[in-house]
Every structure is written in structure tokens, then in C-alpha cells.
Symmetry: C4
Subunit: 201 residues, 4 copies
């Protein structure tokens, strides 16, 4: 059954959720309270700030990826609607693993926090592959010119979940190493020609 | 007295409130603090995460329902404006029952928390019936083609409050059972042909 | 110096801020924690919930008023831009007096909390009079058809700050009485023909 | 490689993030709790309220500046996209230095808090110079009529980071003096003809 939700409206609603999820992240970084010395307290927060930066960029890149995807969509069906809702629920929940890793990165229980964080990124990124997969199987949802490109986009979209999964595995041995790997993945997504967030052409 | 607020502007404002209400829900789930073990703390949060997922989907489905409704509206009167505001106030308040149930689902006072939660969902869903009722009584607010459909939509819109009310009653005997019933209702709303969120055709 | 910010863009940005301010209000109502009994804890929160409802409607009415105002505006100058920014800053700060009154309405220090609350509403409403005043003095900012109406709108816009100021004065003797007066003012704004939020015609 | 993200979509997403960042600021001001006297507690919060007002206006002015900039942009490339994302991440993080300064302005460790605050404003403002610089070096991203103006806009955009940097230096000797300097900078940005936020003509 075709839903008559216009792709533009769904994209605008998604933009709103994504913008809010990105902006709420900072609430998980604790400001030095009145009784604390400022510099030591901020130094103590560097892991939270580093994870904030990584998560903000992950969500920013997801926005770009989402925007590029919806640029190709001409019709929304119910499956797309609810896959998209699942993706939004997962992005909206990222403040939780972000705060978890920020609290534990330099502590004694850093490995499970880093595994949880990278596994959450894997999950968030996997929705994009599911979305592209749904579109590839239903080419009538895409603009005619986009039907060829969608298969390439689906292939590229695997790079996100696979890379974050590697970071999750690395986290078992080196939590900080896995955060650095996440940052490197993001850097590649920013500058790389074959990044999932780059428009397929 | 006719207000000159365009349906599109009211829908866009409502989209904003709904997107924010959905995204704020995660703030009620507590991240493991620096002194806690990560896995046990997260396991302890599973009720909060389960309730988060249900509430996020409830709000997402409300968005779809709202969108489908406003697709049929060609004029906004004052009654519609304030019924819509009441509906937004109720959706915006859902983080409170969500956090209440998340805190109590596995505790000794779970039944009242689950009653409060499902009663809140009932209230939120009932606004949609009130809105459709207002539209059915004032067909000049609707696009001509939608006037027939509105009665069917009003009838279907009862499914939400009635189902959530049953979940509220079930909550007196089984809090977890009522959360599972809520999840089943949502699943039906996602896949069911006669779901209130499905477009009437 | 004329700014080239289109009224539509300024209105959309303002809509965003207003929607967020309304939705954040619920974060100030504390959910019953795991160790508390649910019903007694919620009963204890009734003042916070009552103030939540009043504040949400105040902000909703401000949105309608703002929307009606910007419907008449065809050009934005720098004065309008910054008066609007001051108004947004005041609406965004309402979670603070809302939480203050919610915490104190039934306590021993209720009067100052209620004075603070109604004084904050007075301030928020006064910006609208300042905005209309700015527009009346610069009719070239308005659509030609709106120039007559603006004087009537300015006159009506006084009703908000004057009524909330009376509620602030009443708060010195009866905090709950002043909240009831605020609710009555809002009810009038919802149903009254000469409400500031009603479109002048 | 040219991204096909329309400037309007990027501006709308940025508007959302900026509106949320401004509105979240108030959450860092603590409402008097039930056990506290209201007036003394609010008096104790005046530094937080003063810093709230300054930060809200800083973000509001950034919005105006951003809006004026994107009014000149006709194409978005990947560099612009990620410079803009960096700028948004920095604006979104302002609740942290805002809360830090609010907590410490009248305490014994005010100087580092004020240095941190003004340094954060410097960083946020510097992104605008980077953005204008990117545009000046790639005039094909701008509307033809804007290519001359961009150099003037870049020059003016230096006023923000340079002024905030002076405030950061002043903060070492007078934390309150530096907050007053920040307020004066903002006042100039509001009324000054050559403010970075004023449209170049």
C-alpha cells in the first residue's frame, strides 16, 4: 500500500530529529560545578568532549547520507517510512552510548563502554544499508535516473556498519584505539571519494 | 471566526514539537556513571530502553497519523488550532510517564507506573479522535474529496485510545504484559491495513 | 539600514525556538524515581504538572500571536530582528520560572515563586506590544492592507502584559489564586474574540 | 567534487541546530528547589542568567550572520559542508562553557571559567572567517553579485574572533570585566553598521 507522505515532508521531519539528536549530545558533558576547580574539571572531561565531537560528526554525516538518499526518492511506502523511523530512533538514542563512553573512557571499565559505543554506531549505520536495500528492491520508489546508482549506494553504505563493527571488535583490546579508529572512519567519510555520504554519480 | 493560519504552517510547527518530544525521550535513560560497571548498569536499564523504544514509536506513529490528517485539511479554525495544541501538550508530556515506567517496570511499584503510562497513551491518542470529530462536524475545513473519508478515519482513530485503555486495565494485573500489549498495538499500527495511521482511501 | 532577512525565514526560525521552548518544559517535572511510590510521587508533582500545562499554553498562544503578526509583515528591519530575538530569549527562559513555581506552589515560599512566574509571563507578553509598536511606527514594514489593523493589534496586545501583571500582584496574597488567574487569562485568549492572539480583521 | 546539497536545505538544517542550541542554554540555569528560599536562590543565579542572556544573543547573532552568508551562496561543496558542520558542533557545545561561567563567575575560580568562555566564543566566531575564506577562494560557489562583497564580509568577520579573543585575555585579570566586554561586543554587533552580522552592501 502506497503511503502518500511526500519524500520532502519525511526528509524535513527527519532533519528535525537528527538536528535535535546532535544538539542534545552536549547535555551529557558535565560543566564544572561551583565547588570544582575549572581547569582540572575540564581536563577530566576531555574523554566526554572527544566522544562528543565524534558523535556529533557521526550524526552530521548521517544527515548528509540521509539527505543524499532522499534526493533520489520520489515515493515513500510504508516500509520506507518505518525503516526510516527505526533509523531515527537509533540516532536519537546515541546520547546514551556517547555519555557511557564519555564517563568510562579513562576508567577501569572502558572496554565494555567502547564496545557498546561502537556497536551502537554499527546499528545506526546498518539502517542505511537496510534503507538502500529496500529501495533497490522497489525501484519504482526512486527517480528513474537513480535506479542504477542505488545499487552502488547500497554497496558503499556497507562501509559504515562494517567499519564501526571493526571498531567494536578493537574496543575489546583497546578502548582508546577504537575511538581513534572511529575518528579515522569519520575522517575518511568526510574526505573520501567513495564515502557512503558522498553522492553516487 | 476563521483563523487564517495555513494548515501547512500549523503542520510544520506540530512536526517540530513532535520531533523534539520524540528526541527528548532518551534523556530519561541514565547512562552508567563513572563508578558503575557498564554491562550490569545497562542491563539494569533494559526496562527504560524498552519503554524508550515503545514511546518513540508511539510518537512516530502519531506523527504519521497527524500528517495524514493535515493532508486532508484545507482550512484551520480556532477549535482545530486549540485541539491540536492540546494534542501537542500531551505528546510533549510523554517523557514523564515514559521515565516513570522505565524507573519502575521491574520494581515493587510497577502496576501504578504501567497504569499511568498506558493511561497517558490513551489520553494522547484520544486527541486524534477529538480532532477527527471536529473535522467531521465541520466538513468545510476539509478538502472536498476528504469529506467522505473523514468519517472512516474518525472511526478508525478510536482504535488507539481503546487499545491503550485495555493496556491500562491489563496493567493492574501485569505491568510487563501491558507493555507487551502496547508493543503489539504499535506493531499492528505499523503493519495493519486498517491502522489509524494508515491513510484512508 | 534594511536587513534582507525574509519574514518567512525569520518566522520559521522563531517557530523552531518556540516549539523547543514548549517541549523542554516537561524536563522540569521530575518522574518518580525507582525508590518512590508512584501515586504519592505523582500527586506531589501536581503543581509542576499544572504549571506545565499553563506554560505550554502560554507558549502555544505566543506562537499563534507571533504567526498572526508575521503574516502582516512584508519586510524585516534590524529593530524588528532584535526585538524578535529578545522575545525569543524571554520565551526560551520560561522553563526557569515554570520549574520555580512547580517546586514551590504548595510550599512555604510560594508567593515569591508565583510573583516571579507571573512577572516572567508579563515580560514575555510585553515584547509583543513592543513589536507591534515598532511596526506601527514603520508602516512600510507591513503589507499595505495591514497598516490600519496594526494599531488595533497593538492595543489588543496590551491585554497580555496587563493581565499577567495583575496576576503577579495577586500572587503576593494568593499564589494559587494567581495561577488560576493565569489559567483564566489563557482561557480567554483561547476563546475570546478580542484576544491578542485572535487575528484582527 | 561538487555535493548536490542545496544551500537552502543546508541553511534549514543549520537553523534547526542553532535554534536548539540557543533554547537548551536555559537548562543549565538551576531553578530554586523546593527547600530553598526563592529570592535568595534566584539572586544566587544572577551570573547564570547574565551569561544565559549573553550566550543566547551570541547564538542569535550567529544565526543572522549565517543567514546572511547563505543568502549569497548558490552552490555547496564538500568543504563548505564540513566547515559548516564544524561551526554547528561549536555552537552546539556553547551550553558547556555557558554553564561553566554561570557556575563560577562570582566564585574563587572565576578567571579560568571566563577564559574558557571567551575562548569558546572565539572558536565559534572563527568558523565564520574560515567559511568566508573558503567562499572567497571559490567564487563559483557564490552568486555572481556576491563575489565582490565576500572579501569585505571576510574582513568584517574577523571582528568577532578578534574581539572575543581580547575578552579572553581580559578574563585573566577581570572575569566580570570580560563578560561586560562580551556584552558590549554583542551590543555593537546589534547596532553597528559594520558588524559582521550586518549585510554587506
Amino acid at each position: 500500500m502506497a503511503e502518500a507522505i511526500a519524500p520532502g515532508r519525511l526528509a524535513a521531519f527527519s532533519d528535525g530529529v537528527i538536528a535535535i539528536a546532535a544538539t542534545l549530545l552536549i547535555l551529557e558533558v558535565k560543566a564544572p560545578s561551583a565547588g570544582e576547580e575549572v581547569w582540572p574539571a575540564l581536563r577530566h572531561e576531555w574523554p566526554a568532549l572527544a566522544v562528543y565531537a565524534v558523535s556529533f560528526l557521526v550524526i552530521g554525516i548521517a544527515w548528509i547520507h540521509h539527505h543524499n538518499m532522499f534526493h533520489q526518492v520520489r515515493r515513500v511506502d510504508r516500509g520506507l517510512l518505518f525503516l526510516n523511523l527505526g533509523m531515527l530512533a537509533t540516532l536519537s538514542y546515541l546520547p546514551l552510548p556517547t555519555a557511557t563512553l564519555g564517563n568510562h573512557l579513562t576508567g577501569h571499565d572502558a572496554a565494555p563502554a567502547a564496545v557498546f559505543y561502537s556497536a551502537s554506531l554499527t546499528l545506526a549505520a546498518a539502517w542505511f544499508t537496510l534503507l538502500w536495500n529496500h529501495l533497490c528492491a522497489r525501484p519504482y520508489l526512486l527517480h528513474p535516473a537513480a535506479r542504477e546508482l542505488a545499487h552502488e549506494a547500497r554497496r558503499r553504505s556497507l562501509l559504515g556498519p562494517v567499519s564501526y563493527l571493526l571498531a567494536a571488535l578493537l574496543a575489546f583490546v583497546s578502548p582508546i584505539g577504537s575511538l581513534i579508529l572511529n575518528a579515522a572512519i569519520i575522517l575518511y567519510f568526510i574526505v573520501g571519494r567513495r564515502s557512503p555520504a558522498a553522492r553516487v554519480q
